[in-house]
Symmetry: C2
Subunit: 272 residues, 2 copies
Amino acid sequence: MPRTAFFVSDRTGITAEMLGHSLLTQFDDVNFRRIALPFIDTPEKAQEAAARIREQAAADQCRPIVFTTMVDESLRKITHVAEALTLDFFEIFISPLEQELGRESSHTVGRSHGISNFEEYKTRIDAVNFAISHDDGVMPRDLNEADIILIGVSRSAKTPTCLYLALQYGIKAANYPLTPEDFGAHTLPRLLLPYRTKLFGLTIDPDRLSQIREERKPGSRYAALDNCQFEVSEAEALMRHVGVPYLSSTTRSIEELATTIMHRTGLTRRTF
Amino acid sequence: MPRTAFFVSDRTGITAEMLGHSLLTQFDDVNFRRIALPFIDTPEKAQEAAARIREQAAADQCRPIVFTTMVDESLRKITHVAEALTLDFFEIFISPLEQELGRESSHTVGRSHGISNFEEYKTRIDAVNFAISHDDGVMPRDLNEADIILIGVSRSAKTPTCLYLALQYGIKAANYPLTPEDFGAHTLPRLLLPYRTKLFGLTIDPDRLSQIREERKPGSRYAALDNCQFEVSEAEALMRHVGVPYLSSTTRSIEELATTIMHRTGLTRRTF
């Protein structure tokens, strides 16, 4: 029988969902039904949310688990119902922080994902536009603006990793696919030579690569296992030969790839 | 004098950073120096992290604040130093969850941003590829696969919102720019007619729009305030006329736009 988990917030609910998700993954033999209740920013909505949680408790015959990041204390109290286990993130952590910093918190709703700073916003949007206009080997003249250039065979997760770096961290990431034409010479494609220090490689297990390519172009030479083995082995040899660090995307999520690359290259976030 | 905040994690540190950030934004008159220490996954690295925190305490003459999501208890203990205020998300929340669920947590490092499920991973990557191949009015035949189609004038934040929906939620989002050619007819562009129920609009304050366009094409007609006023007013009139709901991106972050759109349309995440 699944347990129900609610994510209740007076704004986007992103923090509540992330916190709750991190915790719930520690109980992987429990099946959770997840219900997001974002934008609970009036007493009426808070009462509706409370009613929704109570209904679920009655239907499940079991206490729902409520992850909440309500900043407003009066709304927060309404959503705390006896029929649920409420894990209230702000309630627990704000007080020790207030003590440590010697001041009261501003209790401002939804500050963390607001558009507090136009400069920061622009940094992010510019990075996203940069990633899109420098995707898949498209290399206009402003490549020297790149913070990093990801290289690797087609379908090694370069594009989503670049977009994640841009959206989450405001980092300008370009990507360039290594294709069979780039192998054999044992040197980087000419276009990339001036930017050697900005290069970072992605690689992938050939079986997984073949599986991914097969869904895209079934039965093609592009997707054939022996071709994938060849491309991956040549790409890795090239990166080792020219001294470009690389990482496998086979067992890493986009988040892990992005943060690992930042960690290894020393890049730091441009936005928060 | 800035206070130092550390984000310590045995994996990506994304959760620690987000939770810490949410809390720190409640103290906006304090200047925080933020230091991420991700991938602290061995006793040696934990000791280095502890030393780093102690050094900072000595340099600042003030306790650093440490936000941590260490799952492994032995590593967690090493990073808890007397010289800092440590706010440990797992320590505080895991225990009530274990009680409620009647079982021990698996104490698995970094589960939440791992590539636990290949299907889910594919959903996300497919959504990202969909967003890129359906960006800015590029509309191949598979538009009926779209979960949502964002419309709005150029530079109203359609593209980053689509990418966020894809990356974070696995939602297939296309976008189509409303241009001066689309105004006057008081009807949707012909291409969009079959997908009316999938449309959602973004609008923006004309002053802000002019400012954004000015950075892109300084002195252009495209960026001129009167042109921006005209385009925004026509686009909003069109959306009202044909009954497409819309939202202003002027004071909303990408996260807020994406979650608000999901909330209003009833779309739910495809991934976690």
